[in-house]
């Protein structure tokens, strides 16, 4: 059920994307000269008549009169002049087109290759950008330029078309129109000179236009159109929730990097396409590539053997095939396993694949005899799967030319190892024979072979085995010091030895390869884990950028720079970006696609730019600059970089969400506070002020009529209310101080008794009648807190207690050391107490104000400040019932902090 819903969602999403972005109409023809451009222009004129805003981006008329006439009257964008190698050339003005924003742009020749130095290498990339910008594009293309039929065209015509267009472009397809002309008519037109052919290619193309070729191409074009119409229909049905393809019939394509890999990818993609199935391309790394990389590093460049080079060649083939697969819309993965068949079966199971597509195995006689070819193994072990074997003409040829890396030249230390092992074996065997009387000396040599095999590769193991075999024969088998063998028993022993040595050698080296393969996979996992750990610690975007680029640099050995949202870093690398690089970075961020080095967009930058989170309206861009000597990226590196960038994007997204949530929460809270603050200010500022103004006014007007006591009483009022106002303002100030970001505690050692003393003294200044009883055990160590803040907290609690306590009733301050070694200060009053359900709320800001306009209750800020201060010290405050269930006890709990070392005091220097 889940899979179907997902599919439906995907289809809907695709539909939506297509509705907002521009859409593509393709005029497809079987060959040049069928009249695609003419058909496109005809359609454009019709649209223009209907009042649509049509603009010719670029149209090649090739001087044909009727085409020219058709273009007449349609608005035309001037072409851009580009200078290339001293020549003035013309190219479509992409930026002009984007700026002009027509509803429909006509762009001829989708497969055209742009002049080097243009923004994109190919015109279809320009078209994608136009579509992204919401411009509908009409374009023309010949069927042989489609990537997925490239091989078929080659087989039909014998001509390899190099300028191909990836089928993924057609994802944006609104309409595909076949421009058809029977083969005979086309040839006629050709003969009349009505078909434009580039001069230098004219001769080669003549063969192309044979009637049989044209017929085949025409059929191919028709098929293609039919397929797209079919796919289109299917997607629309799925989007509407109608039954689509019932099951996910994943197609798994396995390649091994021989020359036909790309062919296999195309063939497999076609199979999947026809079934409307998702597909992926995998290759199995048996550890050989890692071995080759290691060897390439070990050996000086000049000595790099042909095998190593072949291995690198193979890697590049795989890279190319993977790139092709991605451009056709498939997934790619490298599997690590020494058992190729098992790896493929596992991958197929994971993906829920029904079909596996493989190339025809190289026929190795022995392997076939032993049922060991890949095809045979898959057939034996993978009965559930439909196996498609694609044969290619080159496969056999290729098989012969293959050099196996295992038969390759040895590294420097290997001959030494082989010699030492062999000579050691001879010596040991001689000694064993003389002193121990050991009969069967083959065991000694076997050990030598195993030793070498466990440390090196197959080649060395085989050579050691042969050397040991010869030495054994020469020195120890009668007749000695010849290679002859006299006894039958001897022959058997020697041959058994050789077989055992070879098998053991092969096993040992295979084990080693497995380890190497595992290590490669492990490296990837470790790098990702390391990144994950670092990113998990990053709390904000700046830290994500710092951690991400640090890990990228150390893992990939490349310089890294990234920009996410508006933040970028690290600054050192940012300074190295040239304007050209910045253009590429901006392009990547805008389009959510890679650019720069190793890509075909703006590839003259020395940086490789990757988009961060391309599906989430491109959060940012990551730039990587590998050493200039690195001509290509291995697939592993590319994949590692991409997955790391993905993770960084996720982390950035997470921090963005967190901060957005925080902002939303704070905004809500601020609103609430603001209204509370307003009512508090009006109440708490105005009441003391009105008392003061009233008292002062009475004094100045009627002072002479009053008795001295009344006068004094009014003066007292002014004084007391002034003090009250001052404390209120102090509370507001404290609150803002606490609310400020990054309030830093300057902790210091102080005795809790000193703090209580100071707070009590201050209280007695304002409330001379208040009685405070202390209960502080002697000998408490000093605490490590911000003294002034804790004193303020104590003062606020005491003031609060004094406000509610009846006069003459003492306020009790009790200090205790709790069992879990914390400091607890309890301040108890004998006031009216707080109902249980409100005890928590008294720490809320302006709580007392919310209860109504009752003068004696103060600002409702005091206890909030206490909570803020104590919280900043990692302590806690709570309100409890008072002693004997009368009144309230406010309880402050503070961690003690580290104890100061006492011995310092004793040994402290004298003044």
């Amino acid at each position: 059920m889940g899979a179907r819903q997902t599919e439906q969602a995907d289809a809907l999403l695709g539909e939506l994307k297509r509705q907002s972005a521009g859409r593509l109409t393709v005029f497809l023809g079987a060959a040049p000269g069928v009249g695609k451009t003419y058909a496109m222009l005809t359609r454009a004129r019709e649209l223009q008549r209907q009042g649509m805003d049509v603009l010719i981006g670029i149209v090649e008329t090739h001087g044909r009169a009727e085409t020219l006439a058709m273009a007449e009257g349609l608005p035309l964008l001037p072409r851009k002049r580009v200078e290339y190698q001293g020549r003035q050339l013309e190219e479509m003005d992409l930026d002009g087109l984007l700026a002009r924003q027509p509803a429909i742009a006509l762009v001829d020749e989708l497969a055209h290759r742009n002049i080097p130095g243009s923004r994109h290498e190919r015109r279809w990339q320009d078209v994608e950008e136009l579509l992204d910008a919401g411009i509908d594009v009409y374009t023309t293309v010949n069927v042989q330029h489609l990537e997925s039929v490239n091989d078929l065209v080659y087989q039909i015509t014998g001509v390899r078309v190099s300028e191909t267009v990836p089928d993924a472009v057609f994802e944006r397809l609104r309409d595909i129109r076949l421009v058809d002309l029977p083969a005979r008519e086309l040839i006629e037109r050709l003969n009349q000179g009505k078909v434009y052919l580039p001069e230098q290619a004219a001769h080669a193309l003549q063969a192309f236009f044979s009637p049989s070729n044209l017929t085949a191409l025409r059929e191919l074009a028709m098929q293609t159109v039919a397929e797209y119409v079919d796919t289109d229909l299917r997607e629309k049905r799925t989007a509407r929730g109608l039954e689509g393809s019932a099951i996910q019939r994943h197609v798994l394509i396995a390649i091994d990097g021989r020359e036909y890999s790309e062919y296999l990818v195309r063939a497999g993609a076609r199979i999947a396409e026809r079934r409307g199935a998702p597909w992926s391309v995998v290759t199995v790394d048996t550890g050989r590539s890692a071995e080759a990389t290691r060897l390439a590093e070990d050996l000086p460049q000049a000595r790099a053997s042909t095998g190593v080079r072949a291995e690198q060649q193979r890697q590049m083939e795989i890279d190319k095939a993977f790139a092709l697969a991605r451009s056709l819309g498939g997934d790619t993965e490298v599997l690590h396993n020494t058992d190729v068949a098992q790896a493929l079966l596992d991958a197929a199971a994971v993906r829920g694949a029904r079909s596996i597509v493989i190339g025809r195995s190289r026929d190795r006689f022995m392997a076939r005899l032993l049922n060991r070819t890949l095809t045979q193994q898959l057939l034996l072990r993978g009965a559930r799967y439909e196996l498609t074997i694609v044969s290619t003409p080159q496969a056999r040829k290729q098989a012969l030319g293959l050099t196996d890396i295992r038969g390759e030249l040895l590294t420097r230390r290997e001959p030494a190892l082989i010699l030492v092992a062999s000579l050691g074996a001879v010596g040991t065997a001689a000694l064993a024979e003389r002193f121990l009387g050991l009969q069967d000396l083959s065991m000694v040599f076997l050990v030598a072979v195993m030793l070498v095999a466990a440390r090196t590769r197959m080649a060395a193991a085989v050579i050691t085995a042969v050397l040991c075999f010869l030495a054994y024969n020469f020195f120890f088998i009668d007749p000695r010091y010849t290679f002859l063998i006299s006894a039958h028993r001897g022959v058997a022993t020697v041959l058994c030895f050789l077989a055992a040595a070879l098998i053991a050698g092969r096993l040992a080296s295979r084990l080693r390869m497995q380890v190497v393969a595992l290590r490669a996979a492990n490296n990837h996992a470790t790098a990702m884990q390391n990144l994950g750990r670092k990113l998990a610690q990053a709390a904000d975007l700046g830290q994500v950028i710092a951690a991400g680029s640090a890990v990228l640099q150390s893992t990939l050995h490349a310089e890294a720079w990234m920009r996410i949202n508006t933040e970028s870093g690290p600054a050192g690398n940012a300074r190295q970006l040239t304007d050209k690089d910045r253009v590429a970075a901006d392009w990547t961020q805008q389009h959510g696609q890679a650019s720069g080095r190793y890509t075909d967009t703006l590839s003259n930058s020395t940086w490789w730019f990757l988009p961060v989170c391309p599906d989430k309206d491109s959060l940012g861009v990551v730039g990587l600059r590998f050493p200039s000597g690195m001509g290509r990226l291995s697939f592993e590196q590319r994949r590692l970089a991409e997955s790391m960038v993905d993770d960084i994007g996720q982390a950035a997204l997470r921090t963005r969400l967190v901060s957005e949530l925080e902002v939303a929460r704070v905004t809500g809270e601020t609103e609430r506070l603001r209204s509370a603050l307003l009512s508090s200010v009006s109440h708490d500022l105005r009441s003391p002020l009105s008392s003061m103004i009233g008292a002062a006014d009475s004094l100045s007007r009627y002072g002479q009529d009053m008795g001295p006591e009344d006068r004094h009483s009014l003066l007292e009022t002014i004084h007391v209310e002034g003090e009250r106002l001052d404390r209120y303002i102090q509370n507001l100030l404290d609150m803002t101080r606490l609310g400020q970001q990054g309030l830093t505690l300057s902790r210091d050692w102080i005795g809790i008794d000193e703090l209580v003393g100071s707070a009590s003294r201050r209280l007695q200044r304002y409330e001379p009648g208040a009685r405070i009883e202390h209960d502080i055990p002697p000998g408490l160590p000093p605490i490590h807190v911000h003294p002034a803040l804790i004193e303020q907290a104590l003062f606020n609690v005491l003031e609060n207690a004094a406000k509610f306590s009846p006069p003459q009733e003492p306020i009790r301050v009790q200090v205790r050391r709790t069992e879990d070694d914390q400091l607890r200060i309890s301040v108890s009053d004998r006031g009216p107490g707080i109902p249980e359900d409100e005890r928590r709320r008294i720490f809320d800001m302006f709580y007392s104000v919310e209860r109504g306009d009752r003068g004696r209750h103060g600002t409702g800020l005091g206890l909030t400040i206490v909570q803020g201060i104590v919280g900043a010290h990692m302590g806690s405050v709570e309100a409890l019932p008072g002693l004997d269930d009368q009144g309230t006890t406010i309880c402050l709990t503070l961690p003690w902090g580290p104890y100061p070392s006492q011995e310092h005091h004793a040994h402290a220097p004298s003044p």
Binding site: D748, G751, D753, E754, G757, S758, H786, E791, H905, P911
Partner: protein, 240 residues
């Protein structure tokens, strides 16, 4: 050393310079000071205050930090380059670190606004008395309960001799020498243990605790040695 009196001998002659831009504050300080027999000089800006001090001289300066023409701290620094006159800083509430900085920059005491007149006058009296005693031989503090003889190094409480260690006596000396004056923790640590120990506040806490204990003081209700949290200590002389 004589105990505290409201009008110490010679106080009537003392002339006090008030530098504050608030006319209302200047007015009430002026009235209060004159009512207590002090002479006053009034200045509304820092520059005016410095000129007055240089031309007419004063026995004590009250300096407001928020002045219109220049920052009070600057005035303080400039003044300290050529004058040792006792100085009280008036400041709106600021953090205790700022107070310490002011004391270290040469202020003898501070009073935070808003303040009571009584508090201000008490500080003025303490500073003037100290200035008058500067050249006198080692004094004796005696309020009838506590007696400290700095020269003879003798301390007694209710007539009973109190045995203090060298350190405890040194601390008591530092405090008693400047009665009523706030001495910063940094200064106490530097004077007692040397400049490398100014961060080791816990030495001081332990020592003060022991000293208070021997003087029969309760830190939570102190009489003689007052803690100003985060700033320092003050010895409060008692009336007999």
């Amino acid at each position: 050393m004589p105990p505290l009196h409201d009008s110490p001998p010679g106080a009537a002659l003392a002339r006090i310079l008030v530098i504050d831009d608030e006319p209302q504050i200047r007015k009430f300080i002026d009235i209060s000071l004159r009512s207590q027999g002090y002479g006053t000089l009034l200045a509304a800006t820092g520059q005016e205050g410095l000129t007055l001090l240089a031309s007419k001289g004063a026995d004590l300066v009250i300096l407001d930090l928020g002045l219109p023409d220049r920052d009070g701290r600057e005035v303080l620094q400039e003044l300290r380059q050529w004058s040792n006159v006792p100085l009280i800083v008036l400041t709106v509430r600021s953090g205790e670190t700022e107070k310490v900085a002011l004391l270290d920059a040469g202020a003898n005491d501070y009073v935070t606004k808003p303040f009571g007149v009584e508090e201000l006058l008490a500080r003025i009296r303490a500073l003037l008395r100290m200035a008058g005693l500067r050249s006198e031989p080692a004094p004796v503090y005696d309020d009838g309960t506590l007696r400290v003889d700095l020269a003879a190094r003798e301390v007694s409480l209710h007539g009973q001799a109190v045995g203090l260690t060298r350190k405890e006596f040194a601390l008591l000396t530092l405090l008693v020498r400047q009665p009523g004056r706030l001495i910063t923790q940094t200064q106490l640590l530097r004077d007692m243990w040397g400049p490398t120990h100014v961060e080791d506040a816990h030495y001081l806490r332990v020592l003060v605790g022991k000293l208070r204990q021997k003087l029969g003081e309760d830190a939570s209700a102190p009489r003689y040695i007052i803690t100003e949290p985060g700033v320092g200590l003050r010895f409060l002389p008692q009336e007999p």
